[in-house]
């Protein structure tokens, strides 16, 4: 099958070249569900409905080149693999039509960093998931739920291929990768406890991270093999300059970001660094990541214009129309912000226009329409 124009646009931008025009690749799953009238529960647990909602949204508001991370159809996977069960629409008393949210809760003790290092992350994780999801201890339940997750993942994989045939690129499909520190902070220890651990148990964290990294890489590789999409979503927020010091970043986090990026780049896979919170002070460190092989996706909190100055010749920059602007602003303000991004950050190519993190559930449709239209209005390269 020939590559779509959207694919070519994204690949050219990733190589820091100029495609025919700036590609537009938002995170739009939550908004599309709301806009098309399905619930968040339906979006997360039924990929067909999620796909319908995106199609309906694009037919009304304009077609996009691709979509970045989507949780469409991934509800069962998140339920299965996250040791600390999130607030999930339609489950555990939550209404059907609310956004899913992480709970900040520690599910392990500091002493368990050693257990992870000594017993291996995969074994430790399986045991932890069985502790936090005791119903999975029954072999028949485990098989039933496990096969349900595999079934859903295969459907999500087929959906990704269908979108490609339609000319809409699933940027990272469900190919999720976290660095060990990001994973442990978000999924296992909770924000505060993990920060305390960084002061009290740095060596234990290093040992656990070392043990964890391959498991997290394999999860990403499993996604790549299932979807056929050779990009991975690498999420970062807990190791941002909003949170940790440069010293902590250099000693603990940067080696993981480097090693994880290099692992995928060596296999011909593009890491898409989805960095929430403020990374501005850490942007120079990202020069240590492979050149011209990564996408830097910012959420509207970091200074994207500074990112262009510092990293414009090193990695493709993607972002960052802020959520408050899409909810509270007017179409002409959205248009002006997109114009500025395209003309300044996208001046020499190497730029993908996107929402700052997710298009919010309650964005004004006319603002989303203005954002989509801006790439055709301002983004064509001569």
């Amino acid at each position: 099958m020939a590559n779509s124009l959207a694919f070519e646009r994204i690949e050219a931008a990733t190589r820091l070249q100029k495609p025919d025009r700036v590609p537009f690749v938002p995170i739009i799953d939550i908004f599309a569900a709301k806009y098309a009238g399905i619930t968040q529960h339906e979006m997360m647990f039924d990929i067909d409905k999620a796909d319908y909602s995106l199609l309906r949204t694009m037919n009304d508001l304009g077609w996009i080149d691709g979509f970045s991370l989507s949780y469409g159809g991934l509800g069962s996977l998140l339920e299965f693999i996250i040791p600390n069960p999130p607030m999930m629409p339609g489950l555990r008393g939550m209404p059907d039509d609310v956004e899913w949210m992480f709970m900040e809760k520690s599910v392990m003790e500091p002493s368990e960093y050693r257990d992870i290092a000594e017993r291996g992350a995969l074994r430790w994780t399986v045991e932890k998931v069985l502790q936090t999801h005791p119903h999975l201890k029954s072999p028949s339940t485990l098989v039933r739920e496990g096969s349900g997750v595999v079934h859903d993942l295969m459907k999500v994989g087929r959906s990704a291929k269908t979108w490609r045939r339609r000319g809409v690129e699933p940027l990272v499909a469900a190919n999720l990768v976290f660095t060990p520190m990001e994973w442990m902070s978000m999924m296992l220890r909770g924000f505060n406890d993990f920060l305390f651990d960084m002061f009290r148990h740095p060596e234990e964290i290093k040992a656990a991270s070392d043990a964890y990294k391959k498991t997290l890489w394999w999860i990403g590789m499993a996604g790549v093999l299932t979807s056929g999409v050779k990009r991975v979503f690498m999420g970062g927020t807990r190791t941002s300059a909003t949170v940790i010091s440069p010293k902590q970043f250099e000693e603990l986090a940067l080696p993981e970001w480097q090693e994880t990026s290099e692992y995928f780049v060596k296999r011909g896979i593009t890491p898409m660094l989805h960095l929430d919170s403020d990374w501005t002070a850490f942007l120079p460190y990202l020069k240590h990541l492979p050149a011209r092989k990564c996408i830097l996706n910012l959420d509207g909190t970091s200074n994207i214009f500074k990112a262009k100055e510092i990293l414009g010749d090193h990695m493709c920059i993607m972002g960052d129309v802020p959520a408050p602007l899409l909810k509270l602003g007017e179409p002409d303000e959205v248009d002006e912000y997109c114009r500025r991004l395209i003309k300044e950050v996208g001046a020499d190519g190497g730029f993908i226009l996107s929402s700052g993190c997710s298009v919010p559930i309650d964005a004004k449709p006319e603002n989303v329409k203005a954002m989509i239209a801006s790439v055709n209005r301002y983004g064509k390269y001569k």
Binding site: M87, V98, E99, M101, M103, E104, F191, N192, L195, F196, M198, F199, R200, A241, T242, V243, I244, S245, P246, Q248, D276, S277, A281, G300, T301, P322, A323, P324, L325, L326, K327, L328, G329, P360, I361, D362, A363
Partner: protein, 207 residues
């Protein structure tokens, strides 16, 4: 400049701070004097944070050490009342359960000597109003990460107004995406872009 205990706190020497606090109290140092030393240390940490010499991780760790030190001191403080800098009602608004920012602001406010009533997450407007009435607090701090929180921040401010409290209650909002446009939308007085600024604004409003 902070004294020895304050300096140890600034250097985040957790065990040494706690040992020194215990030793000082055993030596008969007035508990209030030890608290003042710790506050001086927190004040220095706040300055370093604003100068970007310290980051959030150091701010939060120092608040944790301060909290543990206060737990030791409070056993000796029996009856000795401490003046508070002001009373703050705080929470994550209805529809949102994100609490990282809220918890940071609450702990730093406590370190700075504020009386903090933390109502938790997913807090409905009427609960904020009831707590403001009960405590007589002059400051309301509302947190939220999702954009839907902007709507409940707005209805919370409206509920405060409807209860006739708005003249005496200043409202600070905060959370990842909050900016000046959100302040205008919600009818709050201002926003804090980080924990340190939220605390500075609180001191300004209650001073």
């Amino acid at each position: 400049m902070a004294g020895e205990i304050g300096n140890l706190l600034v250097e985040l020497e957790e065990d040494k701070v706690l040992d020194s606090v215990r030793a000082s109290l055993n030596d008969g140092v007035e508990p209030i004097a030890v608290v003042e030393e710790l506050r001086d240390g927190m004040s220095e940490i706040g300055k370093r944070f604003e100068a970007k010499d310290y980051y959030l991780s150091e701010l939060i760790m120092s608040a944790e050490i301060f909290k543990q030190a206060m737990e030791i001191i409070e056993t000796k403080l029996s009856g000795a009342s401490q003046a508070t800098k002001g009373t703050v009602v705080l929470g994550t608004v209805q529809g949102d359960i994100h609490d990282i920012g809220k918890n940071i602001v609450a702990s730093i406010l406590r370190c700075e000597g504020f009386e903090v009533h933390d109502l938790g997450v997913d807090v409905p407007p009427e609960k904020f109003v009831a707590k403001l009435e009960e405590t007589g607090a002059g400051l309301l701090a509302l947190s939220g990460l999702l954009t839907i929180a902007f709507d409940t921040m707005k209805t919370t401010v409206e509920a405060v107004t409807a209860a006739g409290l708005r003249d005496r209650v200043r409202v600070i909002i905060g959370g990842g995406p909050v900016n000046e446009a959100v302040v205008e939308f919600t009818g709050a007085d201002t926003f804090g872009k980080d924990a340190s600024e939220a605390v500075r604004l609180a001191a300004q409003y209650t001073g």
